[in-house]
């Protein structure tokens, strides 16, 4: 199936275009894409409708019956707000935002180093970082627990039960695939820009913070989003670090609800999952303009 790229590949603003396509040509070039989008959305959303339906029904099971939207009531949502759920939401936002920012900053710094400097172990280092992250995390829980116990004796804020400790654990994974993603993007920024700045007297730090970071905002936004989402849904490690229900993140709280063998509060769980998805969607919508901005012709040509 032919993929279409428009003849003029210099996007300036979304949708704005000198050529207004009409009628048959519109359908041929663009219209079918809308139809396709509807199908894809249906595919993406369908299981989530289930969750939505379960969240709107007052009692019962998650997937016990095949009927969708048999009852509509908002009682689950109000019940959610009465409990610990808002606190969990706050915890999640704090932990995930901090992890995302830390990952982006440290990852970008590392990507800059790999991209701009030549030092021994550069090529091997990048590969090593990727491979280290492939270690099966399944058994990490024993080691992490003991590590946090030891650290917690020295720095209480980094011990069991603290959000800072959890953020630190997540930052352990900052240098990895995300760094590589940024490295690739950094490589597309021509060195001429660096050279020009240096001739003007800028230091490497000034080049990094002042110039490069502004040019790579799309990839920073992507990595920020990816990091946010992965820590947001992570519950295996969070479950070990956070031992009190007040400190749980959303992922841990929902998991605890779902893991009750006999009386899992499925309706509450579904409602919680629906609300939990909102920040991610909101974040994505906000970051979209950075992700798709692309390099303008001006900055590329220097």
């Amino acid at each position: 199936m032919a993929t279409k790229t428009p003849k003029v590949q210099a996007p300036v603003l979304e949708g704005a275009n000198d050529v207004r396509l009409k009628g048959g040509r519109w359908w041929g070039k663009v219209g079918w894409k809308h139809v396709l989008a509807v199908f894809i959305i249906a595919y993406a959303i369908f299981p989530l409708l289930y969750v939505l339906s379960a969240s709107l029904s007052p009692g019962g099971t998650l997937t016990g019956s095949a009927r969708l939207f048999s009852e509509i009531s908002l009682v689950n949502y109000s019940e959610l707000m009465d409990g610990r759920f808002p606190k969990w939401m706050l915890n999640s936002l704090v932990v995930s935002s901090a992890s995302a920012i830390g990952t982006v900053v440290m990852g970008a710094a590392a990507a800059y180093a790999f991209s701009r400097f030549r030092f021994s172990g550069r090529r091997g280092g990048l590969t090593a970082l990727l491979i280290i992250q492939m270690f099966p995390q399944m058994l990490a829980f024993v080691a992490i627990f003991l590590l946090l116990l030891t650290l917690g004796d020295v720095f209480p804020q980094l011990g069991i039960g603290s959000h800072l400790a959890l953020i630190a654990v997540y930052l352990g994974g900052a240098l990895g695939a995300n760094t590589f993603l940024m490295y690739g993007f950094f490589n597309t920024i021509p060195r001429d820009l660096d050279e020009a700045a240096k001739i003007d007297g800028a230091t490497h730090a000034q080049i990094f913070w002042g110039m490069i970071m502004r040019l790579v905002t799309p990839i920073l936004a992507v990595v920020g989003l990816l990091s946010f989402v992965s820590t947001y849904g992570e519950f295996i490690l969070a479950r070990i670090v956070l031992n009190r229900p007040d400190t749980y993140t959303l992922a841990v709280g929902l998991y605890v609800w779902a893991s009750d063998e006999r009386n899992a509060p499925w309706s509450l769980f579904a409602a919680g999952a629906v609300i939990a998805a909102i920040p991610i969607i909101a974040l994505f919508i906000y970051l979209q303009k950075y992700i798709v901005a692309g390099l303008t012709a001006g900055s590329v040509k220097g």
Partner: protein, 527 residues
């Protein structure tokens, strides 16, 4: 792109390197940050020293010295950027890997949970048990100076004993079956008992000169019972002996006390077992039998997952990269919805939807079909791939969208000017460039799916199990879930074995990925 020489070298060398030029504002910031870090580090060293936590001390010392050198030295420029990330990596990843590697050489698991000293203490504790049918006495814990004793009413009179002296009558007052007062001794209050609770709990007052009669002990400070120990510990010989004279000697290779006839004492302790755990993968027939089959499926699953999610994600990204399509922002937000929900939720929901009788896929979408999605071997594999596709395509969509932005527009223009059609442009310009920047991520995604334990576990639990197999594994089990089943679900948790098998898996997937990276580097060089 031009190739640069050593980046920090300049045409003229300023007199003072920016690393130490105090007049620049950036330097002040750096100074403050470094001061904070040094303060924290020193505090940590002192605190760890006080806790006798030498590992932490050593690490902090090395890290602090390295930090100061990196940030104040003129050289080591790349290190300045890499250092914080590497510190976190070292502490939270490398240390964890090292710990797992260490555990792999031990027999840590059920029955070998702690140290030898703890095991001995526990055995002594549980062997000190009540003599069946003996009496219980309401007891008063009494103290005289630093000594502790028990006072009970026995044979109608007050009797008192201490650790060194067996029970003997003393003068005192009786109140029913309780002791009201004892001459020369003070009856302790509950609070006082709690303050010395370890001594009170450890106090044993012999009933008489005959040790076989047992001793009095109390667990709660108000009721005493007669007990005796069924095992005695000989420290010099490192053995336990029971009433009948059976001797249990310490077996340092297995971490237990065992007698000659094979009877073992519980609990044992953790010992190093060398390469035993690693060898089990090959020597234990329960593991090596299905191993090959599971290996093949693991590779197939990982490769197909990456291929399908990448294909769909790329397809959608390219199609919707078109600025003529209005409402792209909305569409994109909708497309990534599967990514916005926690993975285990998706697995649970899909599991319900694929239910043979009640699931909505069979009942509604396929009009009452009876397809056994999760019960048939091949269909279950298809179901796993399908669910993984649903879960994974948004991620691929995101990264390919981001990567597509980085392809310079003029390359496309050049292609158009050369008369290349859209498909040709895609195949020869877009796709190769995309692959170069995205290939290592595909490899990382391969590795992630290779170890994608949670999806398999939550969706099929390993899938339709092989009937009659000696280990409970099934057709959709991947290596890591097999490890989990073997190490944890066969009744006795074996962390040591699980660690060793995880390391073997890591070596395998790491080697393959490394080869893959070398290939993509060659690709990079060609372009």
């Amino acid at each position: 792109m031009s190739v640069t020489t050593e980046a920090p070298k300049r045409v003229e060398e300023p007199r003072l390197s920016h690393a130490r030029d105090i007049s620049r504002p950036g330097f002040i910031v750096k100074l403050i940050l470094m001061a904070l870090i040094n303060a924290l580090g020193l505090y940590g060293i002192l605190a760890a020293w006080a806790q006798d936590s030498m590992g932490v001390v050593a690490f902090l010392v090395v890290a602090l010295i390295a930090a100061n050198w990196v940030y104040f030295s003129k050289r080591a420029v790349p290190a300045k950027y890499l250092y914080p990330g590497l510190v976190f990596l070292a502490v939270y990843q490398l240390y964890v890997m090292g710990n797992t590697a260490f555990v792999a050489f031990t027999n840590y698991g059920d029955g070998h949970n702690s140290t030898k000293a703890a095991a001995i203490e526990q055995i002594l504790k549980t062997s000190d048990r009540r003599i069946d049918g003996s009496s219980t006495y309401p007891v008063a814990v009494v103290g005289q100076g630093a000594d502790l004793g028990f006072a009970v009413v026995r044979d109608g009179e007050v009797q008192l004993g201490t650790m060194d002296e067996p029970l003997a009558p003393v003068a005192g007052e009786v109140d029913g079956d309780r002791v009201a007062a004892v001459e020369g001794w003070e009856i302790l209050s509950i609070a006082e008992i709690q303050q010395q609770q370890n001594e009170v709990l450890g106090l044993r007052v012999s009933l008489s000169e005959e040790p076989a009669d047992g001793w009095l002990r109390t667990d709660n400070g108000s009721l005493a019972y007669v007990a005796r120990s069924t095992l005695s510990y000989d420290e010099a010989a490192d053995t336990f002996t029971n009433d009948e004279g059976k001797v249990f000697s310490a077996d340092p290779d297995r971490g237990l006390f065992a007698a000659e006839d094979g009877e073992e004492l519980v609990p044992g302790w953790r010992v190093l077992v060398g390469f035993e755990n690693f060898a089990k993968m090959f020597t234990d027939s329960r593991l090596s039998g299905p191993f090959f089959q599971i290996l093949v499926w693991t590779f197939a699953f990982a490769i197909l997952s990456v291929a399908t999610t990448f294909a769909l994600g790329l397809f959608i990204a390219v199609i919707f990269n078109d600025p003529l399509v209005k409402g792209r922002r909305f569409y994109r937000a909708m497309f990534i919805l599967p990514y916005a929900f926690p993975g285990f939720l998706a697995a649970l929901v899909w599991k319900g939807m694929l239910n043979k009788e009640f699931g909505i896929i069979n009942e509604t979408l396929l009009g009452g079909a009876d397809i056994n999605w999760l019960g048939d071997g091949n269909l279950a594999k298809l179901a796993i791939l399908g669910v993984n596709l649903w879960l994974g395509f948004p991620y691929m969509f995101l990264i390919t969208t981001g990567a597509l932005q980085s392809i310079p527009g003029e390359l496309h223009e050049a292609g158009v000017m050369d008369g290349a059609g859209p498909w040709r442009r895609f195949r020869s310009i877009t796709f190769p460039l995309l692959l170069v920047s995205v290939a290592p991520l595909l490899i990382a995604s391969f590795a992630f799916n290779f170890n994608n334990f949670s999806l398999i576990y939550m969706l099929t639990g390993g899938g339709p199990n092989f009937p009659g197999a000696p280990v409970v594994i099934g057709e959709t089990d991947i290596l890591i879930s097999m490890v989990y089943a073997v190490a944890f679900e066969s009744g006795v948790k074996q962390y040591g074995l699980a660690s060793a098998l995880s390391i073997l898996i890591f070596v395998m997937v790491g080697a393959i990925s490394w080869l893959g990276f070398r290939q993509t580097r060659k690709l990079e060089e060609i372009l």
